[in-house]
Assembly symmetry: C2
Homo-oligomer: 366 residues x 2
């Protein structure tokens, strides 16, 4: 199959760029003495998880239990579920998952939840590996750093069916700070609270063999922290417009990783001289960022959303007006929610479809 035969809109992955991204991250964590457990919420694709592990990752992080269930069923191990698991029916599912994949780790941020998971694990005769989730000023989940996190770690350690492994601190609000120096300052200031919490646990004689955190934006910043053991970066493997905008250490773009993910569309209407319409709209691209998709090496037009299934191209160079049926590829604004719209990705080598990978955990945010 070639690019021209793919039904559109379709998600495309440039295999060579993707593989180079994996290799660069592997070299980076080896050089800095850290590990990586990349976030699979980005791609939801067992084949990508397998390749990340082949490239040296410890396993993958999953945002939700449903995602982890899909990964486990595909044979992926070394799972870390990064959101608290609270409903009784979900805790029952977790215990079944841990029976199948015993090295799975979860996070907790509330004593009630520690008791509930501990009781379920004990009843099922399994031991659940646990990190204490620490709020890094992200204003989302997590116990407050310092004394509250320490108290929770003690509560975990007291449960015989829970095994305290360490800490998680995700500073998501630092990931997209524009400019490397400003981002470094923001992340190191924030992550200091995680390091200080680590020391408290150590002084208390509690185990902290795992301290997980970091994003694609801070992948070459958080490794400066002696107390951090593993990165959770996810987007680096495919990249997106938002990450491209933040700027890398040595220049204006996050050039260390390549833009490997695109959405292929077809021009289905050329109604007027100044306008063309492609068949990719709100259901083909993420819409949570305040900027639109950008075409890949196709000057002479700009994209605007025009409904669920349509994108409106404004023709800025009439000499390059799109023709009916032309295929146009766009970089998505935000990779995670874009991938989550598709059941499969076409893995490309140039214009040839090399493979089709199933996004098996798509929609599994439960």
């Amino acid at each position: 199959m070639t690019r021209d035969e793919i039904p559109t809109p379709a998600l495309l992955l440039d295999l060579d760029r993707f593989q180079r991204n994996l290799e660069r991250m592997t070299a980076h964590v080896r050089r800095t003495g850290k590990a990586i457990r990349p976030h699979a919420k980005t791609h939801k694709c067992p084949e990508i998880a397998r390749r990340q592990i082949q490239a040296g990752a410890l396993g993958v992080a999953c945002a939700k239990l449903g995602e982890a269930e899909v990964m486990a069923a595909a044979g992926i191990r070394g799972l870390l579920i990064t959101t608290e698991i609270v409903p009784p029916s979900s805790i029952a599912r977790l215990v079944r998952l841990v029976a199948e994949a015993p090295d799975t780790m979860i996070v907790v941020d509330h004593a009630e939840n520690v008791t509930a998971v501990g009781a379920a694990a004990s009843a099922a005769g399994v031991v659940v590996n646990v990190l204490v989730d620490v709020d890094m000023g992200n204003r989302r989940t997590g116990a407050q750093p310092g004394e509250p996190a320490l108290a929770l770690a003690r509560a975990v350690a007291r449960q015989r069916s829970l095994r305290l492994r360490g800490l998680q601190g995700y500073a998501g609000h630092c990931a997209h700070v524009v400019g490397w120096k400003a981002r470094r300052e923001a992340s190191l200031a924030t992550m200091a609270g995680l390091m200080e919490t680590r020391q408290r646990l150590e002084r208390d004689g509690l185990p902290v063999e795992v301290v997980a955190g970091g994003s694609t934006g801070t992948y070459d910043i958080d490794v400066e922290l002696a107390g951090l053991t593993e990165l959770q970066s996810g987007s680096y493997c495919v990249m997106d417009l938002e990450y491209r905008k933040i700027g890398g250490r040595d220049g204006d773009a996050l050039t260390n990783f390549e833009m490997a993910l695109t959405v292929l569309t077809t021009v289905v209407s050329v109604p007027t001289a100044d306008r063309a319409v492609v068949d990719g709209g709100l259901k083909a691209f993420s819409t949570d960022k305040p900027f639109p998709p950008e075409s890949v090496e196709r000057p002479g037009l700009t994209y605007g959303f025009a409904g669920d299934e349509h994108g409106r191209l404004t023709i800025t160079d009439p000499s390059r007006a799109p023709r009916l049926g032309e295929r146009i590829e766009f970089f998505p604004p935000h990779c995670d929610p874009t991938i989550n719209l598709y059941d499969r990705m076409y893995v490309m080598r140039g214009d040839r479809v090399d493979a089709v990978w199933t996004i098996a955990a798509r929609g599994r945010s439960d």
Copy 2:
């Protein structure tokens, strides 16, 4: 299964509200002497399509061929595909679909496409039913009203393997005009071009037995047009916050249809006194509108997006602070892209799950 056992985030449909919406639309089109072919791009669910047809609909409209393929495979007939079908591989799929479901209608807005579809249909020995898509100032697809649309209709009529059935004119930009009077003025002014085009075709002796258009916003406006034969309204069956905001004929809200669609979430973190976190974020709700989800009968909090899998609840009434594990339901901002995130909907009668319907055409925008 009860509401408390559903894995979250999950899409819920209130069955009684949904059925009343169908009945109201049936009564409305009967009273006004029109027909309805509801847009299935809203729900992508064959079971809903079946119920709409049972309630009197002619069939369903589909935004794209992929959606229509799923509906046809589920036994749904009376399909209208409302976006132009342009790539050769898609035209080949269309011809196979028409062999299976011969009453399927498509739209065209370009002479090149008329020739291509005509040739493929002729080679396959099928006849394809065609509407000319007319641009209603929506700045999307469609031939310009008047002479250009007439010329295209003639081109369709000249093809022996195409059967001209009439016109489509979708004025999407009128659907959400706030205030019924302003909306009526906008829609009738716009749709006048479609009526004038209809007269041109009639004077030319061309068939116009079908003239399709209208949204949920204009369902009780466009029926005033003598030359319109059928409505394409889609959202009316489930509704959403955006449509609730526009105001109906007799008051401040589009009260004729009920809010039947919600997203169920769970409180997974209560980290501070002024904040709680639910497990529904960018992957649980549409994000294309400038307003957030709103809770259903749960005062004391407001929702803000906090990433792919998280929603941040700001507690506005401390006496009603959410408890860990509490289930909270939200109305989505925009129904179509919200439904497109889920593989199934839980069909509810009160707190009981009455059925689970598969959103079989989810992601099929190809």
